[in-house]
């Protein structure tokens, strides 16, 4: 069976994971850090650059909104102890080189 890609983030200094052309951002929901795929289900817009209002995240491209609780529930598997966040990203292409990069980047969805 395929394994997931394990990444460790030192939150909040590191808030973004890039794997191939996939982008994930970390989001703190009352103390619990969620790692969410930054790809709008509509046209693939950068969700991490959207703003959150009234529990909804608005995609910066076409304004579609998504309930934050649902985005969190669909986030990748995370265990977190203090600032140490371990996330498991799904493998999409078992043959591709999918070494992840953990970085700090602009996240407006907070």
């Amino acid at each position: 069976m395929s394994r997931s890609i394990r990444v460790e983030l030192n939150w909040p200094q590191e808030n973004t994971v890039i794997v191939g052309d996939r982008h994930f951002f970390a989001y703190d929901r009352s103390g619990a850090v969620h790692v969410i795929a930054s790809r709008c289900a509509h046209r693939g817009g950068p969700l991490h650059l959207g703003r959150i209002e009234d529990g909804k995240l608005r995609c910066p491209w076409h304004g579609n909104t998504f309930r934050v609780d649902r985005l969190c529930a669909r986030g990748v598997a995370v265990v977190q102890r203090g600032s140490k966040v371990i996330a498991y990203l799904p493998v999409t292409d078992p043959d591709a080189d999918e070494s992840p990069a953990v970085v700090h980047s602009i996240v407006l969805a907070e």
Partner: protein, 452 residues
């Protein structure tokens, strides 16, 4: 908080005091509990001083409140299991009746949620398990965590080898291990009943190994008894009651907590699977350390058995129990399994740190603090009269603490075995924050206890 809530809280605190009022939980002057599985002293006065509405946080995990609350919880849980004195019940019938008294059991059920929240509630805060856990993520996390644990250093074993008194240090570890070792797999037995499919039978297979396939001499708790006996330690449950560290009791209580409450089942399986999967190298390393300390005399079959069988238990617990449960019961179950893994990982690391600090502490005497020095102390010094009839008690120093003897001579106990340190009038000793210690005196003595 509503007035109603306040009244309720007060009554829980009162109920805890009445629970501790049981004859078998009364204080005693001796530092050991000899041949009586029901006697488990609780200090009512200190229990009454606990603010049960302010649960422990991770940084207060090694504290006097933690020691008291975890002792209380242990009695609550263990009065659910069967204990009979090794030499028979004659003469202890009243203690037997008091320990299992139905009224006490009712009280235990009422105060248990409060005590659990107080002692272990911080795990909910300290460990977060988020997002969607699929099979691949679950297996990846287990494999990474097991790999990390089985390739890590073994700091406790190393600390024993390098201790000022390696024998005392090894025995102090065994005192902590006795919490589980002498009643091994009791928490596991709580989930043998019911009906939960093939995984129930997988759990049973692990359980029968723990129970030596019904052969008393092969039962893990018997092997543990033999280990203790081979180095001259006592083997009756809770002989070393006063010398359990709060974190050791908490780890033991955790397993009772997640099995007693059936909604904790998945957490239990996660925690158990991680331990079973990581025990083998830990015990192999312990055999080496014990051989180094005790030579050929020590009976290490308990460790050797775990070094072998737990390779299988680990595989069974992960691949036949945990993963099938995750597949079958979905994301909520999976999050519980992962939470159990993480919770025991956190508790174990806190317990290691607590034990390492206790092993590293070798108290020595120094001249007593002067009156002028005492005046500088942050809190008011406490003057304690000690004598042969004084109740023995151990406590955890909540701050760096000075114990100065003004008259007579006292013994400072700081480990389950080995001689205590004698401190004579005019001398004192410093107890670092977080350390467990007890004071005793054969003849009348006066000590001044102050924070530094």
């Amino acid at each position: 908080m509503t007035a109603l809530g306040l009244n309720h809280d007060e009554s829980v605190s009162q109920q805890i005091t009445s629970y501790a009022d049981n004859d078998v939980y009364r204080p005693q002057p001796a530092p050991y509990v000899v041949d009586n599985p029901y006697r488990r002293p609780l200090d009512r006065a200190r229990l009454a001083g606990i603010d049960w509405q302010r649960p422990l946080t991770e940084d207060r995990f090694t504290s006097d409140d933690s020691l008291l609350a975890n002792r209380l919880l242990m009695n609550i849980y263990e009065s659910d299991s069967m204990f009979l004195p090794i030499d028979g019940l004659r003469g202890k019938e009243r203690d037997f009746a008091a320990f299992y008294d139905p009224g006490s059991r009712v009280l235990a059920d009422r105060i248990r949620p409060t005590a659990e929240r107080f002692a272990l509630g911080f795990l909910e805060e300290s460990v977060q398990v988020n997002g969607h856990w699929d099979e691949a993520g679950t297996l990846s996390h287990l494999e990474a965590t097991i790999h990390e644990a089985t390739t890590a250093d073994f700091p406790v074993q190393t600390a024993i080898e390098q201790a000022a008194d390696p024998r005392r240090a090894a025995e102090m570890l065994m005192v902590q291990m006795a919490l589980d070792g002498l009643t091994e797999a009791t928490a596991m037995s709580q989930n043998l009943g019911g009906a939960f499919g093939p995984e129930q039978s997988e759990l049973f297979k692990i359980f029968i190994d723990e129970f030596g396939y019904g052969v008393f001499d092969a039962k893990h708790s018997s092997l543990f008894t033999d280990l203790c006996r081979s180095v001259g330690m006592r083997t009756t449950p809770h002989h070393y009651w006063f010398f359990y560290l709060p974190s050791s009791i908490a780890v033991n209580n955790y397993f009772y907590r997640v099995t007693h409450d059936r909604t904790g089942f998945f957490r239990y399986i996660g925690a158990m699977a991680l331990l079973e999967a990581t025990f083998a190298p830990w015990f192999a390393r312990l055999t080496t350390a014990l051989r180094g300390v005790f030579g050929d005399a020590v009976d290490t079959r308990y460790c050797d058995e775990h070094a072998h069988i737990d390779q299988h238990h680990g595989r069974m617990a992960v691949h036949e129990l945990l993963m099938p449960l995750a597949r079958k019961h979905g994301p909520v179950a999976t999050r519980g399994l992962i939470r159990g893994v993480e919770e025991i990982r956190l508790l174990s690391s806190l317990a290691d740190a607590d034990l390492l600090a206790q092993l590293a502490w070798t108290p020595t005497t120094r001249p007593a603090r002067s009156a002028a020095d005492l005046e500088q102390a942050p809190g008011a010094p406490e003057i304690r009269d000690l004598g042969p009839a004084t109740a023995f008690e151990t406590r955890v120093a909540d701050a760096d603490t000075s114990v100065d003897v003004s008259s007579g001579s006292v013994q400072l106990h700081f480990s389950g075995t080995g001689d205590p340190l004698t401190v004579a009038a005019g001398s004192g000793v410093t107890v670092p924050k977080g350390r467990l210690y007890g004071l005793a005196a054969d003849a009348d003595a006066v000590v001044v206890v102050s924070t530094r």
